[in-house]
């Protein structure tokens, strides 16, 4: 190709780059359309994505290494920072891993309270994801609607554990304190107002022609490929596989609840959106059932009202502060736990829970010391984000953006 005069004099470009017919686009690591620290180096031909190479690790914080030096109760805050959109599920998953190692059985009331917390955070997680898909397709107002109710969920968390986003909620064996009457009244007010908002949100998007045209067929993945890539959670179910850890390997008494697993067919952005919406309604119904079950327990056994942890867990459960100041045993256990005097038994455990994005697993190797010998987090985002190039190559650049947001890749979980 003959170089034009202006090309010859101003910028010294290599011969190949002038010959090249495609454009290299660096999307990220910080970009308004990526909602998190993701970098993709894309080769685009006009609007078509020919190739994309994701670079990850920008917020890697070495949690697995840090965990090898921390007593068990100090690892809970690390799990908060994996998927920070649904931190309580990670916290509960970690407590349950230790409970499995210790062989603890929790009272039903505590397990139902945990179910309420986990389903509330699943609703918060899916609300963020779905409203962000809407934002990326150009609809900003649904996002502002759902954030009011996400705020209400965070107020419930705040009432229970004192913090909102990175909750550090619960302890090994149960909760750090009982639910206050205020937390129940906040929960009831959320349950009253939520369906109206959710219907409005769905009314804005579900059968919206513009939204449907934008999402249907964008970033699809077949069930076979999704399984081969190790997809779990809503993204796998959108492809048509009804694998849900809550049903497959029930934990925390999920077997007592009656709920459906929504599934999609082709695994595109619209299916993922609809599966998440369906799950929000199922979570809502699970919370309702849990509230009823707790009320029934309290009616039958009034003394159960004050049960918020398993009594046999008292060597591992940090005692309530008022007990520490008034009871000798509580003071001793508190001291021993905080000073790292409590050893866990040796053993090897894998436990997983259904997180906001899929199977959150904890592979724990304990050599009997006060810290884990090795702790590995199975992070669903890390595993399914590697399918991203396959899902977007050949599609439009704008589809790549909504595919990323509909996969709900959370940078904290991706990089650990």
């Amino acid at each position: 190709m003959e170089l034009q005069p202006h090309q010859q004099h101003h910028i010294k470009l290599s011969e190949e780059s002038l010959q090249k017919q495609t454009t290299t686009l660096n999307l990220g690591p910080t970009h308004p359309a990526t909602h998190g620290v993701f970098q993709n180096i894309m080769e685009i031909d006009g609007e078509r994505v020919l190739e994309t190479v994701p670079t990850i690790g920008y917020i890697h914080r070495a949690f697995e290494k840090i965990a090898e030096r921390r007593p068990y109760y100090q690892i809970t805050p690390l799990t908060d920072r994996l998927n920070y959109c649904s931190a309580p599920i990670n916290n509960m998953g970690w407590h349950m891993t230790i409970e499995k190692l210790l062989g603890l059985k929790l009272p039903k009331r505590v397990e139902y309270l945990r179910v309420i917390i986990m389903e509330l955070s699943r609703i918060a997680d899916h609300l963020v994801c779905n409203s962000v898909v809407a934002v990326d397709t150009g609809a900003l107002s649904p996002f502002t609607y759902v954030f009011q109710h996400r705020e209400k969920i965070y107020e419930i968390f705040e009432e229970i554990c004192g913090s909102r986003l990175t909750t550090n909620i619960g302890r090994v064996g149960g909760f750090e304190r009982n639910f206050t009457p205020a937390s129940f009244s906040k929960l009831h007010s959320f349950m009253e107002t939520f369906p109206k908002m959710m219907k409005e949100f769905e009314g804005l998007l579900n059968r919206n022609r513009v939204f449907m045209d934008r999402c249907i067929g964008a970033g699809p993945i077949s069930a076979e490929r999704a399984l081969n890539y190790g997809f779990t959670g809503p993204n796998l179910r959108a492809a048509g596989v009804d694998y849900d850890v809550r049903v497959a390997m029930p934990y925390s008494s999920y077997e007592d609840f009656d709920f459906k697993i929504p599934v999609g067919t082709v695994g595109d952005v619209y299916d993922r959106y609809m599966v998440r919406n369906g799950e929000i309604w199922e979570s809502y119904s699970i919370i309702q059932q849990a509230i009823e079950k707790i009320a029934k327990i309290e009616e039958e056994f009034p003394d159960q009202k004050n049960v918020f942890y398993a009594p046999e867990a008292d060597r591992y459960h940090i005692p309530p502060k008022e007990d520490v100041y008034t009871k000798m045993e509580a003071l001793i256990y508190h001291f021993k736990m905080v000073m790292g005097e409590i050893d866990a038994p040796a053993g090897e455990v894998y436990h997983s829970v259904e997180g906001g994005n899929g199977e959150v697993g904890y592979y724990l190797v304990s050599d009997g010391g006060r810290t884990p010998y090795r702790l590995h987090f199975r992070r669903p985002c890390f595993i399914y984000y590697q399918a991203y190039p396959e899902m977007v190559e050949g599609g439009l650049l704008s589809d790549a953006v909504i595919t990323l947001s509909s996969l709900n890749v959370i940078a904290g979980e991706l990089d650990a």
Partner: protein, 168 residues
């Protein structure tokens, strides 16, 4: 008939005989050890066999045991049979001087990044991997940080030693 740990163990023993060892069931999860060079053969059999059908790779990670001479590094696979809903765990051990393990990427596309992560942190060399480069750490790093010889904190620091807590 529902698939149980005993049936899986029997089926694998029929196929591979004495080569699979250290059968355990910690917390109900069937666990065994395979020779390092046989990892792919075992996983391929578990994948293809019409009765076993372990076709989902749940997790793949490494563990470092510096005191086990000749088998310092371990690779742990968690496989899941989604039809019968049962998991199992395979462990293989390799020496730290020559940590060569065959890659599972041909069997499971999802193993790609999991193996890169395991390489990144433990230095396990997955033979045949299409793109075995660091994934979470910086490319310039010249050591494998999850190995036990790298301390979390300043190794000269004494204030967190056991004797400071009346334990030592």
């Amino acid at each position: 008939m529902a698939l149980t740990n005993e049936i899986i163990q029997q089926r694998l023993t029929d196929k591979f005989g004495e080569q699979l060892t250290e059968w355990e069931q910690p917390y109900g999860l069937l666990t065994f050890r395979a020779p390092a060079e046989m990892n792919l053969k075992v996983m391929q059999f578990l994948f293809d066999d019409e009765q076993l059908r372990f076709r989902f790779l749940t997790d793949l990670t490494g563990v470092h045991f510096p005191e086990r001479k000749g088998e310092e590094l371990s690779v742990v696979y968690h496989l899941h049979n989604l039809f019968e809903n049962i998991r199992l765990r395979i462990k293989i051990y390799v020496p730290v001087e020559k940590p060569d393990v065959y890659t599972a990427t041909k069997l499971f596309s999802g193993a790609n990044w999991m193996e890169r992560e395991t390489y990144d942190f433990f230095g396990i060399n997955f033979v045949g991997h299409p793109n075995l480069i660091r994934i979470l750490n910086v490319d310039e790093m010249d050591y494998f940080p999850m190995r036990k010889e790298y301390e979390m904190e300043d190794p000269t620091r004494r204030d967190k030693d056991d004797e400071m807590f009346g334990r030592g």
